[in-house]
Amino acid sequence: MTTAPVISAARGTIAIRSENLCRHYRMGETLIRAVDGVSLEVRAGEFVALLGSSGSGKSSVLNLIAGLDRPTSGSVIVQDRDLAKLSREELAKYRLHVVGMVFQSFNLIASMTLAENVELPLRFAEVDRSKRVSLAREALERVGLRARMDHRPSELSGGEQQRAALARALINRPQLLLADEPTGNLDSHTGTEIMDMVREFNEQLGMTVVMVTHERALAERYAQRMIFLADGKLIDDRANVPTATTAGVPGGRA
């Protein structure tokens, strides 16, 4: 693989820190505390799982880290950037260059081919066309979809779509990979395939990974740390030794 590893934040330094992070929604009379005073730290190069039942605030925390949303109070600091203090423009730049995201529902643009989907962040980054094409091809090759680059998402299986989404998240070489239930719509075999890829990015490219999941088993197999949320509050934060090893899992890259 020619994709160069990301060497920005040295392993072990603090990549993400939140302090008393809150995100409240007002629904008429009632106040919904989606995130309610969460303080956490993620070190650079770490693979962290955010666990909790549905509605516990996992996605809300992830969106705050991703700079897609702003905290009601408290702070999120990602690699020395206080996200609450960034302008909308600066937040967009931050999402473009620092963060790569994958979602449960893949979120590829249906009217574009895989290659076009994957190179879309490069358009926002104003990268030259010729360079874009080769970078997109390279990223698709990494996830084993080079042959399908001119297909539309609807022509692909769920696993293939999620691989394309991973390629897109990777294309700007971000330091942070944020995944919101990436295997939620996939069968267990395909899910494993995706998770192996995520772990590969974590290990080979040095990306910091924060993954939301409600499957504790999945977290135990891949995450180095598990953070538990309930009702918007952090209730547990414990280290974990991933049981799946790089060599030991069948499937790997297709």
């Binding site: 897609l68 423009e89 730049k93 979602f103 009217s111 358009r123 926002f124 980054a125």
Partner: protein, 469 residues
């Protein structure tokens, strides 16, 4: 995002919902077409009018009359200047003096009288006027049958179509189609007319010329009147039948029969002015009711007018009329423009509607783009690009459409003109500036229409957009 990327994405998005976007674009085209149609009609009409006026010689002509002529134009200045009785007489020396003024091409007297013409032994009373040879280039003689006068002194006549009809007893009833000039010309060309007229003759003068006393008072000279009126006949050969009316501008005093200028002069026909300038007859020096002065360059009309006024005559030129005509065209233009823009304004509502619909439909897509790093500005520009692309496409199609409509109408009208044996006209012009202006205007209107949808799309909250399937 860079412009080529924006354009590419915008066009691909437009293709995604082809039907809706085409309909919106067609709406813009129709708006632009109506704008182009209206303005090109205005431009064409103005061009046609200006050409007509320029060719008619009216733009480079100044009409000069004596201030003695109480039937003058009734202008303010007449009251300020010397009393009519004291002011200068418009006679041959005055004409020559005017002709010597700088920028003057020629100055010829307007000879115009009502008299009897006999054709086929039937008398016809009509207004006759004299034309210089230079009138040949007058647009009014474009569709003429036969030819112009062979010389300035030839005993020849050109008839206006309606007089030809009268001679042949073929006056069509009101509303009926006009007979063809060619048909009228066949039996008339080369035929002879007999003109009966009253000739003014100086009686042998018992006293020396009365010039000095006349200059101070016109009234006392009647006593010294000494001239006679002799009835004369002059044979005229019909050489041309003019289809159009060369003297439309003159209204009820317009002539139906035209003679060569020098011939008319030599006849010394008794003219209405002679009655008041009665004493002049004794001198045998012609006095003119008015003189037409042709100017070399229409731009010099005003200067020449001033110079002639200083000599003590009244002047009138079409320039004053053309100024107000230009005003009329400006108003017409604004009116047509507003009318044309109205359709475009309606079309712009279509753009707003289409783009707002697109935001609702592409909510998730906008959320995705923001999640992967698109800024508010990127999203805004994308919607602007879509609006702009519809505007430019609609503008181009619209200009073509407007041009085509104009061509069809022009073509149709010319077929009709031809059936009426009238020369074809080009009253529809799409100048290049109008093409550029229309497309630019459509682009601008579409961008303005895109303002609200683009701002709304840019403000979209990505978290909300991604929450809903």
């Amino acid at each position: 995002m860079k412009l080529p990327d924006l354009t590419e994405l915008a066009l691909r998005n437009l293709r995604e919902s082809v039907l809706r976007n085409s309909l919106t674009t067609i709406g813009i085209s129709v708006g632009v077409a109506s704008l182009v149609a209206m303005l090109s009609l205005g431009t064409g009409l103005q061009q046609l009018f200006s050409q007509r006026l320029a060719k008619s010689g009216l733009f480079d002509t100044v009409f000069v009359s004596s201030r003695r002529d109480l039937r003058g134009m009734g202008r303010e200045e007449e009251r300020k200047g010397p009393t009519p009785g004291e002011s200068r007489v418009l006679d041959e020396p005055a004409r020559q003096e005017i002709e010597r003024l700088p920028n003057v091409k020629e100055a010829y007297p307007d000879i115009r009288f009502v008299t009897e013409l006999r054709y086929d032994d039937k008398p016809h009373l009509t207004m006759i006027s004299a034309l210089p040879l230079s009138a040949k280039s007058n647009d009014a003689f474009d569709g003429m049958q036969g030819g112009f006068f062979s010389s300035d002194t030839a005993a020849e006549a050109i008839l206006q179509k309606s007089f030809a009809e009268e001679l042949l007893g073929k006056i069509p009833p009101l509303g009926a189609p006009e007979p063809n000039v060619a048909e009228l010309a066949k039996p008339l060309l080369g035929k002879e007319l007999t003109m009966r007229y009253a000739q003014r003759q100086a009686a042998p003068a018992p006293q020396p010329p009365l010039r000095a006393s006349e200059a101070t008072s016109a009234d006392d000279s009647i006593a010294g009147a000494a001239y006679s009126v002799v009835s004369r006949e002059q044979k005229l050969r019909i050489v041309g039948i003019s289809d159009l009316d060369p003297e439309t501008m003159r209204g009820p005093t317009r002539a139906k029969v035209f003679l060569p200028l020098r011939l008319a002069e030599s006849l010394h026909v008794m003219q209405p002015t002679d009655l008041r300038e009665i004493s002049r007859a004794a001198t045998d020096q012609p006095v003119y009711a008015s003189i037409s002065v042709r100017i070399k360059n229409p731009a010099q009309v005003q200067v020449v007018e001033e110079a002639i006024k200083k000599m003590g005559f009244n002047t009138f030129s079409i320039l004053d009329a053309s100024n107000s005509l230009r005003q009329v065209f400006r108003v017409l233009y604004a009116f047509l423009g507003i009318f044309g823009s109205l359709a475009l304004a309606v079309a712009s509502i279509g753009i707003v509607n289409t783009l707002v619909m697109a935001i609702l439909e592409r909510r998730r897509e906008i959320g995705i783009m923001k999640a992967i790093g698109a800024s508010d500005g990127d999203v805004k520009k994308l919607f602007f690009a879509e609006a702009g692309a519809m505007g430019i496409l609609g503008g181009i199609v619209g200009v073509f459409l407007g041009w085509a409509i104009g061509q069809v109408i022009n073509f149709g009208t010319n077929i009709w003109l031809k059936s009426q044996s009238l020369p074809p006209e080009h009253f529809w012009a799409v100048p290049l500036w109008l093409v550029g202006f229309s497309i630019g205007f459509a682009f601008l209107v579409s961008l303005v229409s895109g303002l609200y949808p683009a701002a709304r799309a840019a403000k979209l909250d990505p978290v909300q957009a991604l929450r809903y399937e």
